[in-house]
């Protein structure tokens, strides 16, 4: 094989480049984040598993219903009324954006733009 040294150095560099993200994320790839659950409420508008998987779709549905269809009737769950609002409903129980929203969003590296406009509770 000609240019053995050059080729193997090149290969080594490529392999290192490919592995950079793994070294870089060494610290971040730890166990799933522990969330601070609200103390003032036991139940959410949907069961926990569904909220975890579908809260973003639910928020989008609520947004479209309230903003576009003008349907701002609160949702009724187990006899309790919840207004369809992130700022005025969700954050009433989940009082900390840092300890609730951000934890999972940072962990899964998603950047929802909710808070560019909506005001998070003061912490």
């Amino acid at each position: 094989m000609y240019d053995r040294v050059k080729i193997s150095t090149g290969l080594l560099v490529v392999v290192l480049l490919v592995l950079i993200p793994f070294f870089y994320n060494n610290d971040a790839s730890k166990a799933a984040p522990e969330l601070t659950m609200p103390t003032n409420a036991k139940a959410c508008v949907l069961p926990r598993a569904e909220m975890r998987a579908k809260h973003m779709q639910l928020l989008n549905t609520w947004r479209d219903e309230v903003v576009r269809k003008g349907d701002s009737r609160p949702v009724l769950v187990d006899g309790k009324e919840y207004p369809k609002s992130l700022q005025l409903n969700c954050m009433e129980c989940h009082t900390s954006k840092v300890n609730f929203c951000d934890k999972c969003h940072n962990y899964s590296s998603v950047r929802p733009y909710c808070w560019d406009c909506h005001l998070a509770p003061v912490e």
């Binding site: 508008v45 949907l46 569904e50 579908k54 779709q57 639910l58 989008n60 549905t61 947004r63 903003v67 576009r68 003008g70 349907d71 701002s72 009737r73 609160p74 949702v75 009724l76 769950v77 009324e81 919840y82 700022q87 005025l88 733009y113 560019d116 406009c117 909506h118 005001l119």
Partner: protein, 270 residues
């Protein structure tokens, strides 16, 4: 390879059939892609108890009252801008306006007078989005971020605005402002309304007739700020018994630039 016409047609025919088959197959595949939230996954709605119900909201502004009390205008503007977290930029060119005071000649350019009387020349009157019946801004919006709701309010869905500013070019009343800069640092912390969102850079905004307050059965902030002076009367234009319609019947009123055919919902007693 020697391609005979006969062979080519055969291959083309078979490929077309295969293509048709593939599309139907794909269609079947996507049938599974239903709306993300099935009906049973959305929590049920509570009983309908929303406050005011109307078909076309409108407003009557009595400019005489604003002439009598020059401090009223500032009060009205401040009330609106605080409720909606409207930023105050130091530079005029960045200004965001939902409702503001202006002179007669700017508000009614179609009614010029060579020799205006003193009051008309000096006094100011409030102007805001006219919530037109035929809104040009809605026609031009490419994302339907601005649209006319069922109760006649021309609303903005800030989630959808891409900041193209077609609506600003289309609006003949200059009722729309663009966020050239991030508005957040320019909102007064002490008067910030925690219940209403702010906007981001690159979004157009304007008066929303306090749609969020009407939902709670409250009057718009500017109407509330006028107290019982009746300087601004708000109500349903489609309801002949409403106070607004009664006032319109009793007074000579004008609309801004009526010849444009936008049919404003805001009326003025000048």
């Amino acid at each position: 390879m020697d391609q005979k016409r006969r062979n080519f047609l055969k291959v083309a025919g078979i490929s077309t059939l295969a293509g048709l088959g593939a599309t139907t197959g794909l269609g079947r595949l996507f049938e599974g892609a239903k709306p993300a939230l099935a009906d049973n996954a959305t929590p049920a709605h509570a009983a309908d108890n929303s406050g005011v119900k109307a078909k076309r909201y409108g407003m009557l502004i009595d400019a005489r009252k604003f002439r009598e009390d020059p401090s009223l205008g500032e009060k009205v503007v401040r009330a609106c801008h605080q409720v909606h977290n409207v930023p105050e930029f130091p530079e005029k060119r960045d200004e965001i306006k939902w409702i503001w005071m202006t002179h007669f000649e700017n508000a009614f350019p179609e009614q010029p007078t060579l020799y205006p009387d003193h009051a008309t020349e000096t006094a100011q009157l409030p102007i805001l989005c006219n919530h037109c019946d035929k809104p040009p801004c809605v026609r031009v919006c490419p994302t339907q971020a601005t649209f006319r709701s069922a109760d006649g309010i021309v609303v903005m869905d800030f989630h959808r605005c891409i900041g193209c500013r077609f609506c600003m070019a289309a609006c003949p009343y200059g009722s729309r402002s663009f966020n050239w800069r991030d508005p957040r640092p320019f909102i007064d912390e002490s008067t910030k309304n925690k219940d209403f969102p702010t906007r981001t850079r690159g979004v157009v905004e304007k008066c929303n007739f306090c749609a969020e307050r009407l939902r709670e059965g409250k009057l718009p902030a500017c109407v509330e700020a006028c107290g019982d002076t009746k300087a601004i009367v708000f109500g349903d234009l489609n309801d002949p018994t409403s106070e607004l319609r009664q006032m319109l019947k009793q007074n000579h009123t004008v609309q801004r630039n009526p010849s444009l055919g936008t049919h404003p919902s805001v009326f003025y007693i000048v």
